[in-house]
């Protein structure tokens, strides 16, 4: 292994330049948001071309995480709401995605293609096609502002993607594995639990991550279906710090950065499964 590293040709200047551009463009926005979040409000509008604030304040973070201010109550409630909705979405969505993907990828039955395309095509249907009547149905049945029903709507919109990723992965598992198990007398279901599931953890991790990120990032759906203080996610709360007339820059930037901590952490922790899962999942060879 070590020898291999030594043998590699040195990195060319063009490559290093490309890396630098990549790093600046990717990390720049985060860094700038951080600078804004620690800049005192009075310094924000001064006309000097200096990039860094003359003075650093942690007041905005204290404002959001402290216990007394009006911001912190709204912000922490938003965080809790987001966590609840995401957890419910994963708990409901992943089991359904797993069994659907198994049926569509590994079992032969009448109407398989019909069900498969019927599910996949919904990926390109705009949210409004379903949300307009859902809003009306929900409001008539008093289901608006309920985290459970919000999560169900999330599941219905992320299910096609996750099912597709998983079923491609299941299909790539060599057939001999499950055939051997079947010869030994395993039924389809025990074969699934004993043979397929144990080797599928990379794609389950990858698709859970994708579901987590999609659910955490939702804005449009909760804006319409769950906009009360008790249910609205942190994304809406943060955007409300930026109203039409007044923008609380520092607080908004700090809130935005804090709101991406959970998804960023998840993405960093599970990133290795992403490539593994994708290699077998999204591109079939």
């Amino acid at each position: 292994m070590k020898n291999e590293i030594k043998k590699r040709e040195p990195l060319s200047p063009a490559y290093i330049l490309a890396c630098a551009a990549f790093l600046i463009l990717t990390l720049g926005p985060f860094i700038w948001a951080f600078i804004v979040s620690v800049t005192p409000e009075y310094e924000m509008f001064t006309n000097d071309s200096g990039m860094l604030p003359g003075e650093i304040t942690w007041g905005n973070y204290a404002e959001l995480l402290g216990m007394e201010s009006q911001y912190s109550l709204r912000f922490t409630e938003g965080m809790v709401n987001s966590v609840k909705a995401v957890a419910l979405t994963l708990l409901i969505g992943q089991p359904i995605a797993v069994i659907t993907a198994y049926a569509l990828s590994s079992l032969r039955f009448k109407g398989r293609t019909f069900f498969k395309y019927g599910l996949l095509i919904t990926m390109v249907i705009p949210v409004f096609a379903t949300i307009i009547p859902l809003f009306r149905i929900f409001s008539m049945n008093r289901l608006l502002d309920k985290t459970f029903w919000l999560s169900l709507v999330y599941v219905s919109s992320f299910l096609p993607m996750n099912t597709w990723l998983m079923s491609n992965y299941f299909a790539s598992i060599p057939g001999e594995l499950s055939e051997a198990a079947r010869v030994d007398g395993c039924g389809y279901m025990s074969c699934f639990f004993r043979v397929i599931l144990p080797v599928s953890y990379p794609i389950i991790a990858a698709s859970s991550l994708i579901m987590f990120l999609s659910a955490w990032g939702q804005y449009q759906i909760p804006l319409i279906l769950a906009s009360s203080a008790a249910t609205k996610p942190v994304s809406i709360v943060t955007s409300e710090f930026m109203t039409k007339d007044t923008i609380f820059y520092g607080v908004t930037a700090a809130g935005g950065l804090l709101a991406i901590v959970p998804p960023a952490l998840m993405a960093l922790i599970f990133r290795k499964y992403l490539i593994n899962g994708m290699t077998q999942g999204s591109v079939k060879f």
Binding site: F22, A259, K284
Partner: protein, 291 residues
């Protein structure tokens, strides 16, 4: 008994999916269609009447529709171009193994973890009309003499929206491309090198053609993203008229003016426009590649 069970098993497994999708997707879509044929304003709940294609005709004739359609098409082209090119370049950067490649991958997926609305908010500080980052930078370099108002004029705003959206969607494209690049056998490059191929022609004749299938996935998924841009526009310019695309127009019609009939008709028009992308999407998802 066992045989019957095995025959029914697939349908039993699909049942939760079918119930969920029927209740929350297929049925609502049908209801939306029925709304679109009615005069239906929530402000006048007693005045609901079947009016045929009237809503569609009115929507298609309205200036707001033409304006927001132009914006959507502009965003579509720019976002797809930026996402695919940047995503592919990032994948090429990540495909080289070196001491920092693990860290690079971690950094590359960060934008993808961003909630779109937060993405818009964070970029708003960069393109802020007063002394945002870009203006400070350009002023400092003496390229401009006074701050540029990035978010007020139509195409400047749309360009910013496209950049911001591409920044968020490029990582997914990069990961798909990277996963694809990793499946290209190393032997191909070695054989080409023995035959005297330089790195440019290896790229031109091996990497690029073998990348087309997953570039297809990148292009189609970014076009779905581009048509569905909503949060970034809201964060950058609110629900103002300047930068509105079809989705914002749809939201305004339905939930601000509470005209469910017209809103539903507009939704169906959008769906027809995107179904072309949908067909392409399904095809690229199912593409098989052989060497």
């Amino acid at each position: 008994m066992k045989k019957l069970y095995n025959r029914l098993l697939p349908y039993i497994l699909l049942l939760p999916m079918i119930i969920l999708m029927t209740a929350l997707v297929y049925y609502p879509i049908a209801v939306t269609f029925s709304y679109s044929l009615k005069r239906m304003k929530l402000t006048r709940p007693n005045d609901i009447e079947f009016i045929g294609l009237q809503n569609y005709i009115e929507v298609l004739k309205s200036e707001d529709f033409i304006y927001s359609l132009q914006n959507t098409v502009f965003l579509l082209v720019l976002v797809v171009l930026l996402t695919t090119i940047c995503g592919f370049c990032v994948a090429l950067i990540l495909n080289r193994e070196h001491r920092l490649s693990g860290v690079f991958l971690a950094i590359a997926i960060l934008p993808w973890a961003m909630p779109p609305i937060v993405n818009g908010i964070i970029w708003r500080f960069i393109f802020f009309p007063g002394y945002g980052f870009v203006n400070k930078l350009l002023l400092g370099l003496n390229i401009i003499n006074e701050p540029v108002d990035w978010l007020s004029s139509r195409f400047l705003l749309l360009t910013v929206v496209a950049i911001v959206t591409a920044w968020r969607s490029a990582p997914f494209c990069a990961i798909v491309c990277l996963a694809g690049l990793k499946t290209i056998p190393k032997e191909l490059y070695e054989a080409a090198a023995i035959d005297g191929s330089n790195s440019f022609s290896s790229f031109r004749y091996i990497t690029l053609p073998l990348s087309l299938p997953f570039l297809g996935i990148g292009i189609t998924s970014s076009s779905v993203t581009a048509v569905n841009i909503f949060d970034e526009i809201v964060a950058l310019s609110g629900f103002s008229d300047t930068g509105k695309n079809l989705l914002i127009q749809n939201y305004l019609t339905t939930f601000s003016f509470l005209d469910f009939g017209k809103g539903s008709a507009l939704t169906y028009i959008i769906m027809l426009l995107t179904s072309a992308i949908g067909v392409f999407y399904l095809r690229s998802l199912n593409k098989e590649v052989s060497y």
